[in-house]
């Protein structure tokens, strides 16, 4: 080995390190764009696991869920946040059958929901604080990070006044959500794989998968004002 060899190795290593660093920096951002207007596929008013099963409810939560389903079946649904024009919470707002516009900036992804004209702000490149560090509210706090071309959104800091779906899947303040969003079908479909973590309500974390289809670019969000005309009165 020549005396220059270590220098060569060092040189090459530096370049590889530079590449690796650039590659790592790439994790902070992605060229993937979810920008556009999306509409939920199918009826997701009764959320099921990605295996099409009832989520793994703990016994007490199961009783509350069964009561809600029974009441709705009998034509006398229990009051929920929507009947008082309060927010859907999550993931229920993502399951609403109304268009969603996504605006994408370097450090923020914004969902504009036609339902209740509700914005959902996702801060990119941030870590989700523990629930205890957040003020519990309806929509929680969302932090997003890129994993290649998939946007991983973690949300926590919820109150326990909402249900996960229209049918009435309950949750506690311990709820955190992990969503993996990616484009499929040549960019015409947005997939959201949602993992529900709530050890107080469910025996284990569970996953649901929902998809959205891209709407014509000519569509613009209409003004839905629940307190004027409540579609869920």
């Amino acid at each position: 080995m020549n005396k220059n060899a270590p220098m060569l190795i060092k040189h090459t290593t530096l370049w590889l390190l530079a590449c690796a660093t650039l590659g790592f920096a790439a994790q902070a951002q992605s060229a993937t764009s979810f920008a556009g207007i999306w509409l939920l596929n199918g009826d997701q008013s009764t959320l099921k696991t990605d295996e099409g099963k009832l989520p793994p409810l703990k016994p007490e939560a199961r009783r509350s869920y069964d009561a809600a389903v029974k009441a709705r079946k009998a034509g006398k649904p229990m009051g929920d946040t929507l009947s008082s024009c309060l927010p859907h919470g999550l993931p229920r707002l993502m399951l609403a059958p109304y268009p969603i516009e996504i605006l994408q900036e370097k450090k923020q992804l914004t969902f504009l929901h036609e339902a209740h004209h509700m914005p959902r702000l996702v801060y990119l490149g941030e870590k989700l604080p523990a629930n205890e560090a957040l003020d519990g509210n309806y929509m929680g706090f969302s932090a997003g990070n890129w994993d290649g071309d998939t946007l991983v959104i973690d949300t926590g800091g919820f109150n326990d006044l909402t249900t996960l779906d229209k049918a009435g899947l309950p949750h506690s303040e311990a709820l955190t959500l992990n969503e993996r969003l990616r484009l499929v079908d040549g960019g015409q479909t947005l997939e959201d794989v949602i993992t529900v973590n709530d050890p107080e309500t469910y025996t284990k974390p569970w996953k649901a998968r929902i998809t959205f289809k891209k709407m014509d670019s000519g569509y613009w969000l209409k003004e839905q004002v629940c307190t004027d005309k409540n579609p869920d009165a």
Partner: protein
């Protein structure tokens, strides 16, 4: 291996390394990192570098619940407009103020929504500018570089089209629901209200100036101007604001029961 060969090999490797980076880029792994300063929260930054980039969080500087002209006089109200305002001032003094859009938790209307003591966030996207208001989760959409349609559907926030005149964003709005008020005291408007906002960055991008021209022959004898200013606030975020929860001023029979 002599020094010359070593250098040649080194140069080849040095040439290969960016190629490797490019290969990684092609595989979708490499993305250029942003070179923007990083304020505490703001998704973008404000400067005069790009005067047409209004993105970020802003907060009103000169909030006043009453709309007045820039010389602090009452707007040029028609006799009808003045009578309606006086009626509302009296009702408030008497302890039973009229209910307005905000007491019903409806969107606040334009230009009222631009005058609230809560953060607003401006977001640019192709063909659109969106303003997300903390107050009552108003979402205002401005359709860029489109003509104002001959007829627009009535909605609380109206229909807004925008275009740039130099570095001034000009927003025209029509179709604002007459159930909204111009200000919080009781200046009203009809379905003929037409507003033209002229928004531009001033003071090195630290201030956003909004000069609103209000035209409504039912309530005003002539077009008049109201000015508002917003401070660049990268330290703020738009939080959840739920008017519908614990609404202490919920109206009963059209009258706000002040508590």
């Amino acid at each position: 291996m002599n020094v010359r060969i070593a250098l040649a090999v080194g140069l080849v490797l040095a040439g290969l390394a960016p190629a490797l980076c490019l290969a990684q880029q092609a595989a979708g792994l490499y993305r250029p990192a942003a070179k923007l300063p990083e304020p505490k929260y703001a998704p973008q930054y404000s400067s005069m570098e790009d005067q047409r980039d209004l993105s970020g969080v802003w907060f009103i500087r000169d909030y006043n619940r009453r709309f007045r002209t820039p010389v602090n006089t009452l707007p040029p109200l028609t006799a009808f407009g003045k009578a309606e305002l006086d009626k509302r001032i009296k009702a408030e003094t008497d302890g039973a103020p009229f209910a307005d859009a905000s007491t019903h938790c409806w969107p606040h209307g334009v230009p009222r929504v631009m005058n609230s003591p809560y953060p607003i966030q401006i977001i640019h996207s192709p063909g659109k500018i969106t303003i997300v208001h903390e107050v009552a989760h108003n979402i205002r959409q401005i359709h860029m570089d489109q003509p104002m349609p001959a007829t627009v559907p009535t909605s609380f926030l109206g229909y807004s089209v925008g275009h740039w005149e130099g570095n001034t964003l000009v927003i025209e709005t029509k179709g604002t629901d007459p159930r909204t008020w111009i200000d919080e005291e009781g200046i009203l408007h009809s379905d003929k209200l037409y507003t033209i906002e002229r928004i531009r960055k001033v003071e090195n991008g630290e201030n956003l100036e909004n000069e609103v021209t209000l035209i409504d022959p039912v309530y005003f004898t002539r077009p008049w101007v109201k000015k508002m200013n917003y401070a660049w606030r990268p330290d703020l975020r738009v939080s959840e604001y739920i008017c519908e929860e614990n609404n202490r001023n919920a109206p009963q029979n059209g009258v706000t029961v002040a508590k």
